[in-house]
């Protein structure tokens, strides 16, 4: 009987200790609540919770992550972009173990690029530096993203600064998706540079896909695009011409197969005075 009582006592004590251990700390609770609000895109309320946490528990283990999510809340709120950049910068400075926080650090850098781009487009030219300085980062994702983002800037003297990184992606990157993105970005910034880049692919891929749509004697569409982007380009042909092609029995696969068969293949579709010509050189 004495052993049974002792056993019950041990079990009760253990369960009490376990309960106390499992009980969530107030800073943790605040953090979890904020994350649920963020998940539901309630940025302002989430930001308040996080600021509450940072004020009340400055030594919290959640502090670094709370700084990151606070910056995220600011970045989603219109008119708070500059504060968001500062908040991300302050998170990056605060991180003690960059390896453990690699994903959040990377996300912060990318968010800074996005925010700086938005401010630059609104006329705040000084934010261009925040994008340009990230072109040279050792982290490939950050450097590539900065180059892709720069390629959208209409001022060619600025967007041209992305060319070396874009060329490097085409020449040395293994990921086909990234290569295609870099090719499109170069096509936008400097088509001449794209021609000069060798992507290590076969000669077949170095060929040019040409698409011309002539309507009433005038060129409505005139494109020279790398063969590697053929399926994307054919899919991007305006709806009107695509429906004409479909009517004549041509779909994307059929066109690609026919063009790939022989070097000199040319597809010519005539319909109501308009001529669609597709060939490769």
């Amino acid at each position: 009987m004495r052993y049974i009582k002792f056993g019950i006592g041990v079990v009760l004590l253990a369960s009490l200790c376990m309960g106390a251990y499992a009980q969530i700390q107030p800073d943790e609770r605040l953090f979890e609540e904020a994350k649920v609000l963020i998940f539901d895109k309630k940025w302002e309320t989430a930001q308040e919770k996080l600021e509450n946490l940072l004020d009340r528990y400055p030594q919290s283990l959640m502090k670094e992550q709370a700084l990151f999510y606070r910056a995220k809340c600011l970045s989603e709120r219109t008119g708070r972009e500059k504060e968001a950049i500062e908040a991300y910068d302050s998170y990056i400075r605060e991180v003690k173990n960059p390896e453990k926080n690699a994903s959040l650090m990377e996300d912060s850098e990318i968010s800074i690029i996005d925010l700086a781009y938005g401010l630059y487009e609104k006329g705040e030219k000084r934010f261009l530096d925040a994008i340009e300085e990230r072109l040279g980062r050792p982290n490939k994702v950050v450097s590539y993203y900065a180059a892709f983002k720069l390629s959208y800037i209409k001022d060619k003297t600025v967007s041209n600064r992305a060319v070396p990184v874009l060329r490097r992606i085409i020449e040395s990157e293994q990921d086909a998706e990234l290569k295609d993105r870099a090719k499109i970005a170069l096509l936008r910034v400097d088509p001449g540079a794209l021609k000069a880049v060798g992507d290590g692919q076969s000669k077949a891929h170095a060929r040019i896909l040409k698409i011309q749509v002539v309507e009433g004697g005038k060129k409505k569409l005139d494109i020279n695009i790398p063969w590697a982007l053929a399926d994307l380009a054919l899919q991007a042909i305006p709806d009107e011409e695509k429906s004409v092609m479909r009517k004549k029995g041509y779909d994307l696969d059929k066109i690609i197969n026919e063009l790939a068969k022989t070097k000199s293949s040319i597809i010519e579709i005539n319909e109501n005075g308009s001529v669609i010509k597709i060939w490769i050189e």
Binding site: A22, K35, L104, R181, P191, L194, I208, I225
Partner: protein
Amino acid sequence: MRKVIDAAGLVRGEMEKAMASVDWEALPAKVTDYVFGKTARPRRLTIGERLRPIRPVLIPAYAGIVLGIILGSLATFLILKRQAPSAVADNAFFASPEFIDRVELEMARRQTLDYLQKSQYLLLDLAQASSLDKGRGMDELASGRAKDLLAKKKYLNPQLENSRMAKAKAICDQIELLFLELSQISDDLTGVEMKRIQGMIEDRRLLLKISLVEKELEESEV
């Protein structure tokens, strides 16, 4: 009448005087000498004058040659200049900005579909994971896949801003937040954390929403 006859008489006298002063025999020789004398015997050029490259007499000819060279060069330049762009254009890449936007949108559509499909598999694994899976390295695997998908999502962001991708953007952003969470806590993913993530997946009907957006993207080619 008388006056006229008298005046004519005066002229006649003067004419007779002038005619008498001319030496009619020597006159032909004098005229011949005067007309042909200079050209028949041109001034001889000295050796120095002959060797001089620009002689005053040839200046018009030289000017003509120089003018011809200038005009010829100009014509050649203009003809070649007109031909050069077409030669380059035949082999150069080009496309209008609008067309490049369409190409990019098509690329975004395909890659968003790919991202959603891969995310769906990962979320399904997480939704069905039990505490037993933790021991089998489930959280480590999930973390690696979540990190890959996080990187993929970053490149999608610019195209997701397009209004035609609005629905896809909303669900992709939610998934991204879950993956960020997963990438942070997976080192020691406890049963409580796993339950919380599973709760988020189920409460927000994430898997259903993904399937619906996937269907829309499959049907809506650019």
